[in-house]
Symmetry: C2
Subunit: 551 residues, 2 copies
Amino acid sequence: MSLRAKALYTFQSENKEEINIQENEELVIFDENSVDGWLQGENSRGERGLFPASYVHIIRSRSGSNLTDQSFSSPGSSPGKDLSYIHTPSTTLPSDDDDDWDDWDETSTVVEDDDHRRGANGHSQNQYSNPNVHYRSKPYMDRQDSMSSNRKGSMVGRNLNRFSSFVRSGVEAFILGDVPMMAKIAESYSIEMGPRGPQWMDNPRPFSCSIEDPTKQTKFKGIKTYISYRVTPSHTGRPVYRRYKHFDWLYNRLLHKFTVISVPHLPEKQATGRFEEDFIEKRKRRLILWMDHMTSHPVLSQYEGFEHFLMCGDDKQWKLGKRRAEKDEMVGAHFMLTFQIPNEHQDLQDVEERIDSFKSFAKKMDDSVMQLTNVASELVRKHLGGFRKEFQRLGNGFQSISQSFLLDPPYSSDALSNAISHTGRTYENIGEMFADQPKNDLFQMLDKLSLYQGLLSNFPDIIHLQKGAFAKVKESQRMSDEGKMDQGEADGIRKRCRTVGFALQAEMNHFHQRREVDFKEMMQAYLRQQIAFYQRVGQQLERTLRMYDNL
Amino acid sequence: MSLRAKALYTFQSENKEEINIQENEELVIFDENSVDGWLQGENSRGERGLFPASYVHIIRSRSGSNLTDQSFSSPGSSPGKDLSYIHTPSTTLPSDDDDDWDDWDETSTVVEDDDHRRGANGHSQNQYSNPNVHYRSKPYMDRQDSMSSNRKGSMVGRNLNRFSSFVRSGVEAFILGDVPMMAKIAESYSIEMGPRGPQWMDNPRPFSCSIEDPTKQTKFKGIKTYISYRVTPSHTGRPVYRRYKHFDWLYNRLLHKFTVISVPHLPEKQATGRFEEDFIEKRKRRLILWMDHMTSHPVLSQYEGFEHFLMCGDDKQWKLGKRRAEKDEMVGAHFMLTFQIPNEHQDLQDVEERIDSFKSFAKKMDDSVMQLTNVASELVRKHLGGFRKEFQRLGNGFQSISQSFLLDPPYSSDALSNAISHTGRTYENIGEMFADQPKNDLFQMLDKLSLYQGLLSNFPDIIHLQKGAFAKVKESQRMSDEGKMDQGEADGIRKRCRTVGFALQAEMNHFHQRREVDFKEMMQAYLRQQIAFYQRVGQQLERTLRMYDNL
C-alpha cells in the first residue's frame, strides 16, 4: 500500500540509503509504518530511499486506518477525531508524545543561546516546539545504532521516533530493562520523601564557589587571547583558573550524563566584542549565577567531573581527569541506575497529575519569565535612551534659560542664573543616573531571568521522559493482561517507571525551592536598588533646591 | 518710471481704490515712493490701484538708486551693500526699522493665542516677524485716517509704513508733537531713578487679587452656558463675579491704552471643550498668573478700567463704567502725556545701547522659554504615555510571574507570590503617579512659561517704538543743522524721545524684577514637587520591600 505524504521540512541525505526531501515536496510512502523513525519512499524527482518520518506528514484517506496498535497510548485523541490530515512533526504516528508540545508556545521556549542547543547531546533543546529549527543529532539519527537496540528482545514496542528525548536520553532503554544492572556502582543519589513529596537528599558536603577577577590572558606570543576567571570553591579555598571553554566542556558533560535534571544553561557565547568590558562583566555575573545553581544542586554538585573542574590545578592531571569524565559509563540510561528511591507507594495516576500540574506551571512561568525579560530589556533601552534624553533635554532647557538671564548685564541676576544652571546640570546628571541605573538593578534581574529561561526550557523534554515511561507502563500492563507478556516483566517496567517518577518529582521539588529563594532575592535586590536610586535622585534635587534659598 | 515688483503676500482689496494681489504675483509699480505705506501699480490681470507697500518687494536694477534720503537712518547697511533685491516686508524702503526683526526667529515669537493677536488694537503682535501671518488691522489700513494726519504740518517726514507699531501706537505722533498737551490730566505715572536705572514708581495702594471657584452658570433658561469666576481684590475684600469675556474686554482696553507697556496675554481661548475640567482648571491657573501680573504692575494696576473691573458689582454701573473706559482719551499717543520723568540727563546713545542689550536678552530669553516649553510639553506627553506605560508593563510583568507561581499548588508559595503581586501593583501605581505628576509640577511651569512667552512677544514692538523715536531725533537734528528746522522743534522732539526712553527703561526694569521673582519661584516650586514625587515613589517601594521581610 503506497500513501502520499508532504515534506514538512527540508532534509539533506547524509548516507547513500537516504534521499533529499524539500519542504512542501510531495512524496510517495511505500509503507506507512516507519522503522526507527525512518520512512521509505520516493521524492518528486523519482529518487527512492529513506527520510525521517518526523519530517513529513502522511496524507490519509478517511477509510484506511491502521492505527489500532498505537491508539491505546494516545489518551488525548478522541475516537471520532478526523485523522485524514495529521500533522506529526515529532512522531510518525499520533501518540501521547504529541500533545505535550502543541500548547507550549514556541516564542516562550526559544533559548537565547543557539550554540548550546546545537551542541547538546543529552536534552533535545525543544527542537519540536520550534518547527523551523531542526538539527540533526548524528548519534541518534544513525540507523545502525537504533536497529541494533531493536535486536534486543522485549515484547513492548519501542518508540518509533528516534528524535524523541525519551529515546535519546536512554530513558526508554532503561524503562524497558535494556540497561543491565551493574555489579558495583560508585555513584549513588538518594531521593527521600520530604514535606512536599520526593526530594533529592542534600549533598552531605555542601559548598559554594566564587568566580572572580576575569583577566585577559594571551597565548602563542599574543596571537591568541582569552579571559581567565578565578574560581574558588569554599571547601578547598584554593583557586583554580578557568576559561569559558572549560565551562563549556563541563556543561556538555553535564548534558551528556544527567537525564531528568534541568542543567542550567551557560551564559551565551558571543563571537564579536568578546573582550568588551560590558560583555565580560555580564558573562561573569551570569557564570556566578550558573555556578550558584550548580553548587546548590544536590546531584550536580556531587558530580565527579564538576569536582575535577573545581579542584584540578595541574595541566597533566586536568587532561587525565577530563578523559576519565568523558569515559564515564554512568551517563544517560545508566545514570538512572544511580538513584536510590524511597519505598513509599505512589499511585502512578497521582504522579502523572502532579507532573501535569507542574507542566502547566512551568509553561506559564516560562511565558511570564519571557514577558518580564522583554519588559526589562525594553526598560533598559528606555533608561539608556528615552529617559536619559528627556532629563537631559530638560537640563538643557534650564541651562538655556540660565544663559539668557546673563545677557542683560545690569539685570544679570547672577545668583539666580547660577542656581538655574546648576538645576540644569542636576537634570543632565539625573539623565545619566537613569542611563547608569540598569547596571544596578535591571541587569541583575535579566541575568536571573535568563538563568530561569534556560532551566525552564529543559522541562518539556524532562517531562516528556516521564510521559514516555507512563506509556510503556500502560502498554506493558495491557500486554500482560492479554497474556502477551510475563507479569514479571511488566512489573519491572512499572518499577523502573517509579524511579523515573521519583527522580522527576525530586527535580521539580528542587526547582521550586530554588525558585522561591531566587525570586525572593531578585525582587528584594531590585527593590532595594530602586529605592536607593529614587533616594539619590531626591537628594540631588534637594541639594539643588537649597541653592535658591538665599537669592 | 515704472518698476517691477513681486507680491510677498496675498492682499484682498477692501476699498474700490485697492486691487487684489496674489502671493508671488508679478506687479508693475508706477512710483516706487509709497504714500503712507501704499503703492500704486498694476497687477498681472491688468487691474490698477493701490496695495500695501509692505506686501511686495520691488525688483531694482543695480544702477538706479533713489535711496539717499533714507540712508542716514539705516546704520546697519554698509555703503557697498547690494541693494538690487531688497526684501522689505515691514517697510517700503530700507530703514532702521528693518534690522530689528530679521534676527528675531519667527518660531520663537509665535504667540499661542491667535485670537488675541487678531483682536489686539495696540501692539502689532509681531506680524512682521512671521511673514505667513498678516492680518489687516482695519483702523490703521484706512488711508483717509493716515492722510488726514499727514495734513498736520511738521517738517520731519512721517514714517511711510502705516503698519509700523511706531505709527500705530501713536508714538510717532507724540514724538512729532502732534499730540497737544492737555490742560488737566487726571492720570499720572511717575518714573524715578532706581539703582539699576529708571523704574516705575510703585503703586501707592498696592493690592493683590484672588481668582477662585470657576462655576458653570446658565442664562436664557439653560440655552447659554458660561463659567463665572469669583474675583476678590485684597483692598476691598469684596468679591465680584467675572466671565472670560469680561477679562477679554479689559485686555482689549489695556492693549488700546498702554503703549510702551508689555500687557500680559490672556490665557488662550478654546472653542471646543470649554467646560472640560482640565481646561477650566488650566484657564483658572493662567488667569491667576495673569491677574498677579496685572496687580504687580505699577502702571497697569492703577488703570481706572481695571479698578472698575475689580470692584463694580452692579450691572448698571458696570455698563456706565465700561462706556467711560471706552471713551478714555488718554490712550495711545495721549497716554504718553501721563508720564512724569526724572530730570537726570541720559545720553541717548547710552539709552540706545541699553535697549539693544535688552533686545538681545529678550530674543534669547524668548528662544529659551520656547525651548523649555517644548521640552516640558514633551515631558508631559512622556509622563502620560511612555513613562506610565513602561512602569505599568513592568508591573504587569511582575503580576504575571506572581500568577505563574500559584499554578503548582504544593509549591504555590503564596506569601512570595503575594509580595510579587503587590510589587506589580506598586509599579502599576508608580506608572499612574508618573502620569499624574505633571499636574503638580510641569503644568505650573508651562503656565508661567506661557505668561512669559506673551510678555516677551510684546517687546519687539515696544523696542520698535524707541527705535522709531531715535530715528526722528536724528532726522530732526540733521534738519536743524541744515537750517531746515527750528532748533526749538528739534529740542521738543528730543525731549519727547527722552520720555519714551524713560518709560521703556522703566518697563524693562519692571520686567526684569518680575522675571527674577517669577523664575525663582517657578524653579523652587518645580524642584519641591519633584523632590516630593521621588520621595513618594521611594516610600511606595520601601513599603513594598517590607513585604518580603518575613518570607
